[in-house]
């Protein structure tokens, strides 16, 4: 199989960086999911789309806007009314959804090559992200699994909390390297490690 190239590669330097003498407080990685898919329901078809997501991924979306769930391999979250992002470590998610999401229910858009998924983890993850995005990253306001759509300097970002101190950020592939560099700069003060 052809190996997909990472847009981060020229700026992806494995190792510890910044002010890490007193410990590394941030871990940065690229999760490289095999599939990233965007799903949208026609008006009134949201429940059927959620059922289709459950049948394809086995993940049951919690109620409420921005609700999401992550099982370590697959993840799904709402980012807009009737719209969801799903990702899977394996390829072929779009083809599976194309069978389950009929034209009566909604649309399936394969973004596997259009988005780059960056994971930021560690005790200072909330602190570093709060420098980028004017949203509340505290755990009660942003529960594990939930998704948020926002923007940093006009670079759209979809953020899913995949752990108490871990976030997956989906950004446009074309902006990913610039965003990655900014994330590295912002993490310097607390010490970060790229894995």
């Amino acid at each position: 199989m052809v190996e997909r190239q990472s847009p981060l590669e020229p700026e992806f330097h494995v190792g510890s960086h910044g002010n890490f003498e007193h410990g590394v407080d941030i871990l940065l990685t690229e999760t490289r999911p095999g599939s990233i898919v965007q799903l949208a329901a026609w008006p009134g078809e949201e429940k059927r789309l959620i059922a289709a997501i459950r049948s394809v991924t086995g993940l049951a979306l919690p109620d409420g806007a921005g609700g999401g769930v992550n099982d370590g391999v697959k993840s799904v979250f709402g980012f807009a009314p009737g719209k969801f992002t799903a990702a899977d470590d394996a390829e072929g998610l779009a083809a599976a959804f194309a069978k389950a999401v009929t034209p009566e229910i909604g649309t399936v858009t394969d973004l596997s090559h259009g988005r780059t998924a960056i994971r930021i983890a560690g005790p200072k993850a909330e602190w570093v992200l709060a420098k980028f995005f004017a949203i509340d990253f505290a755990l009660p306001a942003f529960p594990v699994g939930a998704g948020r759509s926002t923007a940093h300097h006009d670079v759209f970002a979809q953020i899913q909390r995949t752990g108490a101190d871990q976030f997956d950020i989906y950004v446009f592939r074309s902006f990913a390297r610039s965003f990655w560099k900014a994330l590295c700069h912002a993490s310097e003060e607390v010490g970060y490690e790229v894995q």
Binding site: A80, P81, S149
Partner: protein, 98 residues
């Protein structure tokens, strides 16, 4: 200025795009009533006070919103989806604010 998006919660105005006066009523596209078209294109209330506006949460969920904004104080007194059928998606209930 903060706008509380019914889907995303309170966000800075930088994430939103103004889409114009919310009081306009577009005439039937086949209409040749020039006065109605003139009113649609040019006539604005320009109130000093509460104003019905359309905003898009372009830097977030991208939904279009009906916003009532006070033009004197920038106070936002109501925000709702333009499309009524988004209603079930509205969130930001007590558990999210806790």
């Amino acid at each position: 200025m903060l706008i509380t998006c019914p889907y995303c919660g309170p966000r800075g105005v930088i994430e939103f795009t103004y889409q114009g006066d919310g009081n306009r009523e577009r005439p039937d596209p086949a209409s040749q009533n020039f006065e109605a078209w003139n009113a649609y294109v040019y006539d604005r209330l320009n109130p000093a006070g509460d104003h019905n506006e359309i905003w898009q949460h372009s830097g977030g969920c991208r939904a279009h919103l009906r916003v009532v904004r006070n033009t004197l104080t920038h106070e936002i007194s109501s925000v709702a989806f333009v499309r009524g059928d988004h209603g079930s998606a509205a969130r930001r209930k007590a558990e999210d604010k806790a």
